[in-house]
Structure formats: structure tokens, C-alpha cells
């Protein structure tokens, strides 16, 4: 490299600016001086003129306390040991004008201070305020006392350094990595997402945090739900009978005021419909905070004598209400027996078909969940078949109607129509005795 260097003109080795100039014909930069390293020198450095000289103290002295220097960098005058009389010091100082560079070769005459030991600085006078009254004791700064500290000054950072525009190997690789699409996507989206998720998970892993979050969410929900526009103040039950309305109201067990968010209308409807007398319920929260409940009641069609008591049932066999006495609803037909409610429709047709003998009928009894018995007064029964019960009953009714036959007016206990092809009568015991006796008399057989 030195060979390369030697054939270059000396002008190239002249001082260059801090700016990057290219091309660099030397191709290698001179060994860099580490910036900020204090240079310790025995002799004072020679500057071209005083304003280029560094301050020979570190840290630099305040503006007014620096010593003035001659053009060769030497101190113009040592400081006076004793403090000058401040009153005698004229603060009028004349700044030395910047000389044109042309006559720099002729050294300027040293600036003679107005007062011995008190030196006007030769650079701009604007900073000079007269340091005699500084709290540190004015010009107590002494060159000889701490000479070592005074002689150190830092090498300026910027001056010899060239800025290298090329990226370092690491910077270049990182840059290339950043330009890789996958890594870029990961850093931009994946990493923040991961961070947020991990923070959230870490926070949520503490039970008190979870409870706090839950409480705050519930608070917000409550606050929203308890707004006045959601308040329900009263319920209005519309029903055919006031008893059912009262029953539904007490069943729903609503405590007003309540938020409409807390009312589960489907559940309320199911509760209302669980009442036997209610066939259907229709619920609506009207404006004004009124819960309207419209009820469709079941219509009782029959009286059912269950083992535990009397019930009203509708035409589907569903219980409507409990009945205290049969006489309370004497207008309705009575059914009884196991599985009677399941065949209410058939019972109704049978009841309608038996209209001519209605005055005698006591009720219908379901036998073996299979067929009906018609129970009349005087303990008479008509046993009907499982299939074709209506026809059988009509036949019996026909046989008991009219003038000739009057079947049921006779002393018959049971009309057995279970086999429609072979109707059978069971007479009462007295009638049977009479019949036997009459037969014996007519045939002359002994009664033995």
C-alpha cells in the first residue's frame, strides 16, 4: 500500500474535509485514531492561530475563564496570582478582528491586556462578561497547579473520521433478512400476535385476574341491561277465566321490576303451559314495560274418575282441573278406568250415540285399556267390543228403543256385546230364578 501511496501527488495527501470524497485512490483509509482519546503532550501544540486551538483543559472551562493565546498557541500572559481589584478593571474590551487569510504569515503582535493579569480574549467578545465575580472565585484557575489535567484535551470526533456509506456485514445480512417475505410477515404479524397472545395468556393464568375480568364484564352487562328502556314493570295476564290468570301469575312468580334481558320468554311460556288448564300461552313484552301473557284455556269435555279423585279432562284427554264432586259438572259425561283418558274421543262418540238412553247412563268405564263398558243405573252394564264399539252400542240402543223390545227396561244385568256376532244377556239372579221356574212349569219338569 505504501508503494501505491508514493506515486500519488502530494496534494492528495493534503487534509481533506470530513465529507466523503470518492473515488478513494488510496483504496485503504489511513489507520483511524480512536475518537475521544486524550492526547497527552509535553509541549503545547502549535496552532496556526489562536481560534483553532483547543481548550487545554477537560472539561472545558467556562467561556470567560479561558486564557487568551497568541498566534502560536502560547499563553499570552500568565494569570496573576492575586485577585485584581475588580473596581479597577475596565470591562471595555476590543475583540480582535478576524484577519484576512492573506496576511496570516505575518504573526500578529500579542494582544496586550488592559490590566496585567486580566486578559481580554481575542475571539468574539460577546461571551466575555468579566469573570471576576464568578462563584468559583474568579480567576483562581492556575496553570501550574494541576498541569496534567490542563494539558489533556480530547481529539475531536468528527474531523478525521470519514463516513463509510457501505453497510456492515451484519447490517447487510439483517437487511436482507428483513427483505425476506416470510420473515417480514412473521415480524410484522406473527410476532406481535404471539406477544399479545402470550401476554394475555399470562395475565389470564392468574385466577384473581380472571375473576376481575369476569366481574368487570358482568358489571358492564348489568349496567347495560338495567337501562330504563329494558325495564319491565308489570305483567298483564289475559285469560278467559280469572282463576287461571291468577294461577299462571302465581306460577310464574315474577318480581317486578325486572330487566327484559333477564326474562326468558320461552321458559316462561313453558312454565305457563305446564299448568293443566292452559293449552297455550303467548308472551310479549310490550312497550311501556308490560309483559303481556295471553292464555288459551283448555275446555273441559269429560269428567274422569281417577283413583285419587275426580278430574275434568278436555277432548284430548288432558287434565283440566280437579273436580270436587261429580255434581259440580253433572252436564259432562263421566269416564273411569285405567287408560280412559287416552280414548276420550271414542268415549265422546259413544256418549253421543247413546243419546236415547242418556237419562239412564252413569258413565263409561274403560276396561283393560282396550274396550268400553257403558254403565247404566240399576247396575246395568253394556259390554262393548274393542272393535266396532259404536255399532254394537247402536244395536243395543235400537233394541232398547221402541215399544216392543225395551231391552234395557227388563231385568237384565249385563248386555254383553263383546262378540258382536253373538250378543249375550246376563239376567239378574231373581230374573234367572223366575225364568227357571217358568220353564219348569211350562215343561212340567220337577224342580228337584
Amino acid at each position: 500500500m505504501s508503494a501505491l501511496k508514493s506515486d500519488e501527488p502530494p496534494a492528495m495527501r493534503a487534509r481533506t474535509d470530513s465529507a466523503w470524497v470518492w473515488p478513494d485512490r488510496l483504496e485503504v483509509t489511513p489507520p483511524a485514531v480512536p475518537a475521544g482519546r486524550p492526547v497527552r503532550s509535553r509541549s503545547l501544540p502549535k496552532g496556526r492561530w489562536s481560534i483553532d486551538m483547543p481548550d487545554r483543559a477537560w472539561p472545558p472551562l467556562p467561556e470567560g475563564m479561558r486564557a487568551a493565546r497568541g498566534p502560536e498557541g502560547d499563553l499570552l500572559e500568565p494569570f496573576a496570582e492575586e485577585e485584581p481589584e475588580l473596581d479597577a478593571v475596565p470591562f471595555e474590551t476590543v475583540p480582535a478582528p478576524r484577519r484576512p487569510q492573506a496576511d496570516l504569515d505575518r504573526p500578529e503582535a500579542p494582544v496586550t491586556p488592559a490590566v496585567p493579569g486580566f486578559i481580554a480574549q481575542s475571539r468574539a467578545a460577546k461571551g466575555f462578561v468579566g469573570g471576576g465575580d464568578t462563584p468559583e472565585g474568579g480567576f483562581s484557575f492556575q496553570l501550574g497547579a494541576n498541569a496534567a489535567a490542563v494539558m489533556d484535551w480530547p481529539v475531536e470526533d468528527e474531523a478525521p473520521r470519514r463516513h463509510d456509506p457501505s453497510p456492515s456485514r451484519l447490517a447487510y445480512r439483517l437487511n436482507r433478512m428483513w427483505l425476506t417475505p416470510g420473515i417480514r410477515r412473521f415480524v410484522r404479524f406473527g410476532l406481535p400476535l404471539l406477544l399479545v397472545l402470550s401476554f394475555a395468556a399470562g395475565w389470564m393464568s392468574k385466577p384473581e385476574n380472571r375473576a376481575m375480568l369476569e366481574a368487570s364484564i358482568n358489571g358492564v352487562i348489568d349496567h347495560v341491561q338495567n337501562q330504563p328502556m329494558f325495564r319491565v314493570n308489570s305483567a298483564e295476564v289475559i285469560s278467559a277465566s280469572p282463576e287461571v290468570a291468577e294461577g299462571v301469575e302465581s306460577l310464574l312468580n315474577l318480581h317486578f321490576p325486572v330487566s327484559s334481558w333477564d326474562l326468558d320468554l320461552a321458559e316462561l311460556r313453558a312454565t305457563a303451559e305446564s299448568l293443566d288448564a292452559v293449552e297455550g300461552a303467548w308472551l310479549q313484552i310490550r312497550s311501556g314495560g308490560v309483559l303481556e301473557i295471553r292464555l288459551t284455556e283448555r275446555v273441559p269435555a269429560m269428567v274422569w274418575r281417577a283413583p285419587e279423585g275426580l278430574y275434568l279432562v278436555d277432548d284430548e284427554g288432558h287434565r283440566v282441573a280437579r273436580l270436587a264432586t261429580r255434581a259440580a259438572r253433572a252436564d259432562l259425561p263421566l269416564i273411569a278406568g285405567e287408560g280412559a283418558t287416552a280414548a276420550v274421543a271414542e268415549a265422546q262418540t259413544l256418549w253421543a250415540a247413546a243419546a236415547p238412553i242418556q237419562s239412564r247412563m252413569r258413565g263409561l268405564v274403560r276396561v283393560s285399556e282396550r274396550r268400553w263398558d257403558v254403565v247404566l243405573d240399576r247396575d246395568q252394564r253394556i259390554l262393548l267390543p274393542a272393535e266396532g264399539a259404536l255399532e254394537a252400542l247402536e244395536r243395543v240402543v235400537a233394541m232398547s228403543e221402541g215399544v216392543q223390545q225395551q231391552l234395557l227396561s227388563r231385568d237384565v244385568q249385563i248386555v254383553d256385546m263383546r262378540n258382536p256376532a253373538r250378543p249375550t244377556l246376563r239376567l239378574t239372579a231373581a230374573a234367572m230364578q223366575d225364568l227357571t221356574r217358568n220353564r219348569n212349569q211350562s215343561t212340567g219338569a220337577s224342580s228337584r
Binding site: V21, W22, E27, V28, Q101, P167, Y172, N175, R176
Partner: protein
């Protein structure tokens, strides 16, 4: 030769891979600057209507998406002399280009002018196997060209078939499918120092970039600066670079001669710096702003402040007349052109039907060069600028970017090289099965 063949084919495969990926960098490592362009393939749908760009050579297939230029460091005469410095310059250019393109590139095609390039004209001929010329015949005839001794440590950078001869018909560009008996071939081979190339490849590898192709600077700058008819009729492209001046001669669309002169614009700058006792950077600046080659009376009165930073008031206020500057530049430029003239004479440029000379490169921007070149090189001289490629920044359209623009074109449309053809079957012992098949075909 087989090692070279394999390495060139490996680079070709890398190039194909990069093309499939769609992004490839082209890079010019010169003495004065390191330039890098990043090309994206398969994005442009041709030049816009009315943009003045015709569908020349189909370079509409790609688009320049990133460009970075920096001053070259550690390069002399187009060859690396300080690897770390060059690596820094390459990194700078690559990073700037990647930043502009917002993508990373892993493959780069490289052009350079160093390595003492030398041209060789080869010829060979074979008897045809069948009645018509097949692909295999072309591979055979390329293989039959007697390779010259390139010298120790030298390799072929380009080996391009220039001309085919079928029986007595010459000047065939593509003889495939034509009937004949004997096929001959002229090939142009460019030899280059292996070490120089290896240094460049290593330098790029240190920047994590694979070299996917190499091209000689004279070749690519000729492709960029010569228009098509000049390439067809015969012309020389002279690229006045920083450290080297390269020249290439084209005829019938092919390069038939390439050479480099190890003199360039930096030598002119050095002369100015030495002559006027000024820093190199100032000399470069004065050369660029005030340089010239033809002095007139006006130039005696025009004074140029050459300045200085010595602190000496007298020295820092020196001025020179422009005539003095021209007086320094002119002999050096004359020397460069004389040297080029000598190389052209060696190449037999005088015997070409058309003797068009195109000056390009950064050095061609000196005012008055065309007149001077016309006096030294010949009457038909023009200043050439590289063709326009889509997406190229305005700053990179000057003649100093001729090489890299030509490299873009080379990347998109490479001309046939010797290694683009398969090695003929009988030469290639690694395919015994194919040889056996051939033996069966021949005997039954």
C-alpha cells in the same frame, strides 16, 4: 474444458432457477463505480403505446425494479485489488438496489472488464450423420472446433458460434434441418484470467449472492449501444470506462472480437491531479464539469478555480485556464484512442464492410471526443447511449451504464453459447446407456 463446461452449465441452471423465481440482479463491477440493477421477469406487458420504445429485441419481458450505484473501491483496471473494499462497495450497491426493489435477490449476473480478455476465432467441421443437420450435429461441430491453448490459469468466458457453413454455403445462422453433407462452424471464444473471475465470484459470495452468469463488459456494452443494423452490418463499440477501455466488434449480430485497453478515464483524472497539484476528487470534478478535448480561443479566457485545502492562501486560490486543462486531457485521450486504434487494426477492423464506431461509456461524455475519435479511429464515429429498458431510472440511462443495460438484455435474451448444447453422445462417457442405444441403432 469439461470443468468449464460444467461450471457454465451450473451457472446457466442457476440463471434459469432465478428466472423462474422472477427476480435476478445484474451487476457491473467497474473501476469507477459498482452498479446493480434488479430485474423482475414476467411482469411487464410490453412498452406503453406512444412511449417511443419499440419491441426491440424483446426486452419487454422484464422490468427494472431496483437500482443502486456506488463508487467503486478496491478495483483497478476492472480487477479486484482489495477484496474487502470491493465487497463493501458491492454490498452498498446491492443493498440500495434491494431497498428500492423491496425484495432480496439471491442470484446475480456479473459483468467485468478486467482479466486480460483475449479473443480467439475457432473453426471446425464434421460430416453429417444423417441427411439433415440435427441438434446433435451442431453439438458435434462445436465440439470439433480445435480449442486453442488459452494459457495457464485462463478459461473461456464466452464461446459463441458465430457462423455455420454447410458444404459451400456460408453465413448460416441456424443450419438445423437443412440438408447437406459437411457442417462447418466458426466460433468466437473469449479467454479470461481465471483468478480474476474467481475473485469476483468470491466477492459476491461473501455478499450472500450466487453468481448466476458472467459476461464480458465489451460484449454487453456492445449489445446495449449498437443498434440492430450496426450489429448486423459490422461496427465496433468502444466503452471508455474508468480503469479500462473495452472494445468489441460485432457483425451479423454476433461479437467477433473483444479486447480491453488498460487505460481509462481515471488515468485522465490522475493526469489532471498530478499536473495541477490538486486532490484527486477535485480533479475528477474539474474534469467532469470543465473537461474538453478541443481548445478554442474562448477557452484561454475561461479560468477555472482549482482550489485546494492546504491552508495556504496562495495555493488555495489557484486558477487554470480551460486550455490548460484540455492540454492535460487531450494527450491522454489521444493515447487511449491510439491504443484502441492499434487493437482494431490487429483485429482487422479495416476489412469489415461497415466501419461504424460507437463510443460509449462514461469517458465518451467528454466534449469534443467525437471529433478527436474521428481523426484517430475513422470517419464514421458516433456517440452511443444504451438502449432503453423498462423501469430503468433516469439517472442510469447515461452512456456510463451501457455495460449494465446490455447485461439486462443479455439476461433476458442470451445468445447461444457452446455450453448451451449437449455434449455429443459419443464424447460423453457418463451416458453408457445412450451409447449402447446408439450402437444398436447404428448396427441394426
Amino acid at each position: 474444458m469439461t470443468v468449464l463446461y460444467e461450471s457454465q452449465r451450473a451457472m446457466r441452471n442457476l440463471r434459469r432457477q432465478a428466472m423462474q423465481r422472477g427476480v435476478i440482479a445484474v451487476m457491473d463491477v467497474g473501476t469507477h463505480k459498482v452498479a446493480c440493477l434488479i430485474l423482475k421477469f414476467g411482469v411487464s406487458d410490453g412498452p406503453r403505446e406512444g412511449s417511443g420504445v419499440g419491441n426491440m429485441a424483446g426486452q419487454a419481458a422484464f422490468r427494472v425494479i431496483g437500482a443502486g450505484t456506488t463508487c467503486s473501491r478496491g478495483v483497478r483496471f476492472g480487477e479486484i485489488v482489495a477484496m474487502r473494499e470491493t465487497e463493501r462497495a458491492v454490498r452498498t450497491a446491492l443493498q440500495n438496489a434491494q431497498k428500492m426493489a423491496q425484495t432480496r435477490v439471491d442470484h446475480a449476473i456479473l459483468t467485468f472488464s478486467g482479466g486480460d480478455m483475449r479473443s480467439y476465432g475457432l473453426e471446425g467441421s464434421v460430416e453429417l450423420e444423417s441427411e439433415r443437420v440435427s441438434e446433435n450435429d451442431i453439438a458435434r461441430v462445436l465440439d470439433a472446433c480445435d480449442a486453442p491453448d488459452l494459457g495457464h490459469g485462463r478459461e473461456a468466458l464466452h464461446a459463441q458460434p458465430v457462423n455455420f457453413v454447410l458444404d459451400h454455403r456460408s453465413g448460416l445462422a441456424d443450419p438445423r434441418g437443412q440438408a447437406g453433407r459437411r457442417l462447418g462452424c466458426d466460433m468466437h471464444m473469449l479467454g479470461v484470467d481465471t483468478d480474476v473471475v474467481q475473485n469476483l465470484v468470491h466477492c459476491l459470495k461473501r455478499c450472500d449472492v450466487e453468481v448466476a452468469g458472467l459476461a464480458a463488459a465489451p460484449y454487453v456494452s456492445g449489445r446495449a449501444s449498437l443498434v440492430e443494423d450496426e450489429q448486423e452490418l459490422g461496427a465496433a463499440a468502444i466503452d471508455l470506462g474508468g480503469g479500462t477501455t473495452t472494445l468489441s466488434i460485432f457483425i451479423k449480430g454476433h461479437m467477433i472480437y473483444a479486447d480491453t485497453v488498460r487505460l481509462g478515464g481515471d488515468h485522465i483524472t490522475g493526469d489532471i491531479a498530478k499536473g495541477l497539484q490538486i486532490p484527486y476528487s477535485t480533479a475528477e470534478r474539474i474534469k467532469t464539469f470543465h473537461g474538453g478535448l478541443m481548445a478554442t480561443g474562448q477557452d484561454d479566457r475561461q479560468r477555472i478555480e482549482i482550489g485546494g485545502d492546504s491552508g495556504d492562501w496562495e495555493k488555495d486560490r489557484r486558477t487554470v485556464t480551460r486550455s490548460e486543462l484540455i492540454g492535460i486531457m487531450r494527450p491522454r485521450m489521444a493515447e487511449i484512442l491510439e491504443e484502441v486504434r492499434a487493437r482494431l487494426d490487429v483485429a482487422g477492423f479495416d476489412h469489415l464492410p461497415s466501419q461504424q464506431i460507437v463510443l460509449t461509456g462514461g469517458g465518451s461524455q467528454v466534449p469534443g471526443l467525437d471529433g478527436m475519435a474521428a481523426r484517430i479511429l475513422g470517419p464514421q464515429v458516433r456517440l452511443g447511449r444504451p438502449i432503453r429498458v423498462p423501469g430503468l431510472p433516469q439517472a442510469a440511462t447515461g452512456p456510463e451504464y451501457a455495460a449494465i443495460v446490455g447485461l439486462c438484455q443479455y439476461a433476458a435474451h442470451p445468445q447461444d453459447e457452446w455450453w448451451d448444447f449437449d455434449i455429443p453422445a459419443q464424447m460423453f462417457a457418463a451416458r453408457p446407456l445412450k451409447r449402447a442405444m446408439k450402437w444398436f441403432r447404428d448396427n441394426w
